[in-house]
């Protein structure tokens, strides 16, 4: 009897005491999204560690240690952002946009010049590259402008306005010069407009104009003697079409990356890797980290990484459909497109099917700004997810 009574003595519903997971808000997060991001970052640190042992004399873990610190900071940032209601960013859109434009403009003036371009501020412990965080800021601000201006002006005026808003920071980044990031800005702009419902006819027109521009920049302008791209940029953009040329140019890099990945075969070469250990592949810790993975861990490793990215982007797209409001849809759509574009262009460039544009592989390429910004972007996605779950549960804050 006593036992039966005891079993009946269940706590009442109003007396529920949330567990630690609930208090941390973990049930509101999208676990696959977070786990795939953490797995990718961890794999990236691991690959960096193994492939850059001898790069900095006297400190074998130079790159990996730093990357690990940024990843942990990014993870913390993701968690904090997930607990914030992203809708606040819509209200802050003008401030965010101003900060974005100011930071990329200031870096042009005060930036720390590396290899002929000014992209970063040289802070103590850290050189901060505003354009990396700028990608996320642009999504947040532009989505706000699109929602806000949905009823102002004609459809054509709106389209032109969004384009101008998006392409202004893209142009500033292009002047650094950082072609890759400015392309990402452009893609973000188009993606937000696309998800935001800009007319198909407008999108088609923009597409046509862009195609014409590319033709002008790559073919027409150099032939009339007024090149818009710097020589190396143009070479990088076109050399993937004919990669086996001169070993000293961009085609060489691409060819070496291809050899590196191919030589990994099914199971990888491990420490016998040579392409990415002996400097045949340039920038192996940043733009060509995927070649390191391909060579060291083979098809198994590279396919695992690609699958994790596929999972990440699938979860991001799923969050678009879950969002409780339009702003969340636009933001999630922009981030998903940004991630998809970066992964495809970077991995495609490693595999020799896309031009070399200097776009880092999210979460894996060495670079504090990039890792932090990507984790923050995923944090915003988590926030959208959490807000959707909370609104379903009828609760609006946690």
């Amino acid at each position: 009897m006593y036992a039966t009574r005891a079993r009946q003595a269940r706590p009442e519903a109003f007396a529920v005491r949330p567990g630690i997971a609930e208090r941390l808000g973990l049930p509101y997060m999208d676990a696959p999204l977070a786990l795939s991001a953490v797995a990718l970052a961890a794999f990236g640190v691991f690959a960096l560690e193994q492939s850059t042992l001898n790069d900095v004399p006297g400190s074998p873990g130079y790159f990996a240690d730093r990357q690990a610190v940024y990843a942990v900071l990014g993870l913390a940032g993701m968690y904090l952002l997930a607990r914030v209601d992203y809708s606040r960013f819509r209200e802050l859109r003008v401030g965010i946009y101003t900060f974005l434009c100011a930071s990329v403009a200031l870096v042009l003036v005060f930036g720390f010049a590396a290899r002929g371009s000014r992209r970063a501020f040289d802070l103590p412990f850290f050189s901060f590259q505003p354009s990396e965080l700028g990608k996320l800021l642009l999504v947040l601000a532009l989505a706000g402008f699109v929602i806000d201006g949905a009823r102002r002006g004609s459809a054509r005026q709106r389209t032109v306005r969004y384009l101008c808003l998006g392409f202004a920071p893209a142009a500033l980044v292009f002047l650094q010069p950082d072609l890759g990031t400015s392309l990402v800005f452009g893609v973000i702009t188009l993606a937000v407009m696309y998800v935001g419902g800009v007319r198909w006819t407008h999108l088609a027109t923009i597409g046509t104009v862009l195609a014409a521009l590319v033709a002008l920049v790559l073919v027409a302008a150099p032939t009339v003697g007024a090149p818009i791209l710097k020589g190396y940029q143009e070479e990088r953009l076109t050399s993937f079409l004919d990669p086996s040329g001169d070993p000293s140019d961009a085609g060489y890099q691409q060819n070496q990356a291809k050899i590196a990945i191919g030589s990994g075969e099914k199971t990888g070469r491990g420490d016998r890797a040579t392409q990415t250990r002996l400097d045949f592949v340039p920038e192996r810790h940043t733009d060509f980290i995927f070649a390191v993975i391909g060579e060291r861990y083979g098809f198994g490793g590279a396919a695992l990484v690609l699958s994790l990215y596929a999972l990440l982007i699938w979860r991001a797209l799923r969050i678009v459909t879950l969002s409780k409001n339009s702003y969340g849809i636009l933001v999630a759509g922009g981030i998903a497109a940004m991630l998809l574009f970066q992964v495809f262009v970077n991995v495609g460039m490693n595999l020799g099917i896309m031009p070399i544009t200097g776009i880092p592989l999210p979460l894996m390429s060495y670079g504090g700004s990039s890792v932090l910004a990507t984790f923050l972007a995923i944090g915003v996605l988590q926030s959208i997810h959490a807000q959707a779950r909370l609104s379903q549960a009828g609760r609006f804050a946690w």
Binding site: S263, F280, F299, V320
Partner: protein
């Protein structure tokens, strides 16, 4: 979410699906389908091979005296991958380097371009034989000369200077054409091979095998820390012992040089065909080929068609042989039954055939002579008569050909020439082609009988013919290669080439001919009695005085010694040297003195064990 929005998101998802599909497919083709190719390319990428040249074997004379050895030389090398990338700086450094090595900047750039064409990335030798002071200077100023290093290389050295220059030959880089030949399979551009003479003929023994160092390098061509992967040490070439006797060789060359006229000599063992000396004058310094030549040197070596110092007159100098040919006429007449040993022929000073008068040299008249006497005094009329008698039956040609006239001498060195044995077939075919004004006539054969006219033969061919008679009918294969030894002197291989063929020569005919030749050399009234009369060793020898159109008479002498069982034969010819007894016979004497002088002092002879 509206349907329109759902469509757009679905399209975005579809795009993602397509893009990932592309990436996966590409990854699959690279790694799984073509992985092996890329792996091979990667392996090829990280190693660089350097060939380490092997020292060539020495060339020794028959007593082990080195005729060619190696010396080490310091060569200045430039590694093109380490030169400054900046064009102006690179040019400045190369110009400075050219100044230090006394070459022109253009030459340096040419060498680098050539090296790049040949093996991209490999170091290029700018100059050999740089002095120590320059090496020290470069080491002290290494920072100013990135990519410049000093390498020890082996260079041929000739301790006896010009001695045996014509048979030793030289070494040089393998040409593109030679690389396609089977015997040079496995060589690479830049490897050195023998280009002439012994160096060429015995190249496969002398050459050795280059070593290989395979180094792991990074993308900049710098060796990595655990860089050395494989090192296969070079295998030095084998030593080659020649049959050449440095003493005989030196005596022959000195004898030619003392006359100062172009000529050649051959001294050979009559039984084995081993050549004890082969020389030609004018000569050259083989060491000249180990250094870059000046234009004047090139002109003197290659452009001078009169003196032609590179020509080996002993084996490829072709001339009428004068009376030395009478030995062949004698053999033909005896063996074909034209005459008996004692058959007398009346020498009235001249004979007239077909309206043409053929006279004895110097207008001499010897009366009735038989073979021995005819050889002793070199009666032209006796041999004219034999030539006349055999003009239509081809016996003179048949026997001359058997003894090696008009055919390749079978020498183990390049350059042996067949020459020309005039015959009815040869003359008639020329006549048919309109290249001569008359068909074969008795006059042609009469001229041939005393070694005049169109005959073209080399000293080596005459030596072979005389040796064949002296040894009783064995046509030896002349050769200079004796054996291959390793560095410790162990014999790895001996060269004993089989005789080319055997000719039946009746012993009594041989004896009669040798008697005639012996009387010519060492009996009073003999044509070279003045020269060999007092020589302590028995000699059988024949003078020759060949008339060449446009030249002074050419002096010939062929000697067999010791009589009556000769072991060696010496054939000497001197262009424009006058009568045989005037210059060629004294030269032959000097050679025989050197040979028998050394023998009498107790050293091993050329054929000590097996006299014929």
């Amino acid at each position: 979410m509206s349907n329109r929005l759902a469509l757009r998101i679905a399209l975005l998802g579809g795009l993602a699906l397509v893009l990932f599909g592309l990436l996966f497919f590409r990854l699959w083709t690279l790694q799984v389908l073509n992985g092996e190719e890329y792996l091979a390319e990667a392996k090829n990428n990280r190693t660089r091979e350097y060939r380490v040249s092997a020292p060539r074997g020495q060339v020794l004379d028959r007593d082990g005296e080195p005729l060619v050895r190696n010396r080490t030389s310091l060569a200045l090398q430039v590694d093109p991958t380490k030169l400054p990338g900046d064009r102006a700086r690179r040019h400045r450094q190369l110009a400075r380097l050219a100044e230090l090595t006394h070459t022109s900047p253009r030459r340096v750039r040419e060498l680098l371009a050539e090296g790049r064409r040949r093996t991209p990335g490999a170091p290029v030798a700018i100059r050999r034989d740089v002095g120590h002071y320059l090496v020290y200077y470069l080491q002290e100023h290494q920072r100013e000369f990135p990519g410049v290093s000093v390498q020890r290389v082996f260079v041929r050295a000739y301790p006896h200077g010009t001695l045996a220059a014509h048979i030793l030959g030289n070494v040089g880089e393998v040409s593109e054409k030679q690389l396609e030949e089977k015997q040079y399979a496995g060589l690479e551009p830049g490897d050195e091979i023998g280009q002439d003479g012994v160096e060429d003929a015995y190249d496969r023994f002398l050459r050795g095998e280059p070593g290989l160092t395979r180094i792991q390098v990074d993308a900049f061509g710098q060796p990595t820390r655990s860089g050395h992967l494989v090192s296969r040490p070079p295998v030095p070439g084998r030593d080659l012992k020649l049959s050449i006797d440095a003493g005989v060789q030196a005596a022959g060359e000195a004898a030619l040089a003392s006359r100062g006229l172009p000529g050649g000599f051959v001294t050979m063992d009559v039984h084995s065909g081993e050549l004890l000396g082969v020389g030609s004058f004018p000569t050259f310094h083989p060491a000249a080929f180990t250094r870059p030549m000046t234009q004047a040197q090139v002109d003197a070596l290659y452009r001078d068609e009169v003196l032609a110092p590179l020509a080996n007159r002993a084996i490829s100098g072709l001339y009428p042989t004068g009376s030395t040919f009478k030995l062949l006429t004698a053999v033909a007449a005896l063996e074909s039954g034209e005459i008996e040993i004692g058959t007398p022929i009346f020498d009235g000073g001249s004979i007239t055939v077909g309206g043409q008068e053929f006279q004895n040299a110097g207008g001499a008249e010897f009366g009735p002579v038989s073979l021995v006497r005819a050889l002793q005094v070199s009666s032209d009329v006796f041999f004219y008569t034999l030539g006349w008698n055999m003009w239509d039956n081809g016996e003179l040609q048949r026997w001359s050909h058997r003894l090696g006239i008009g055919r390749e001498p079978g020498l183990d060195l390049p350059g042996g020439e067949p020459g020309l044995l005039p015959s009815r077939a040869w003359r008639d075919s020329l006549f048919a082609a309109g290249e001569t004004d008359r068909p074969w006539s008795a006059g042609d054969n009469i001229q041939l009988a005393i070694g005049q006219g169109d005959l073209q033969a080399s000293p080596l061919q005459m030596a072979i013919a005389y040796a064949t008679v002296a040894n009783g009918g064995t046509v030896v294969t002349p050769h200079v290669g004796l054996r291959v030894e390793d560095a410790a002197g162990r014999v790895l291989r001996e060269f004993e080439p089989r005789p080319q063929r055997r000719v039946r020569i009746e012993p009594q005919f041989r004896a009669a001919i040798l008697t005639g030749l012996h009387d010519a050399a060492q009996a009073p009234e003999g044509t070279s009695y003045a020269i060999f009369g007092n020589f302590p060793v028995g000699v059988a020898g024949k003078t020759g005085t060949a008339q060449r159109v446009g030249y002074e008479d050419q002096s010939w002498y062929v000697a067999l010694a010791p009589y009556p069982n000769p072991r060696i034969v010496t054939a000497v010819t001197i262009e424009q040297g006058g009568f045989g007894a005037e210059s060629a016979a004294p030269a032959a004497l000097q050679i025989l003195e050197a040979h028998f002088g050394k023998q009498s002092s107790g050293e091993a002879g050329p054929n000590g064990g097996s006299p014929g």
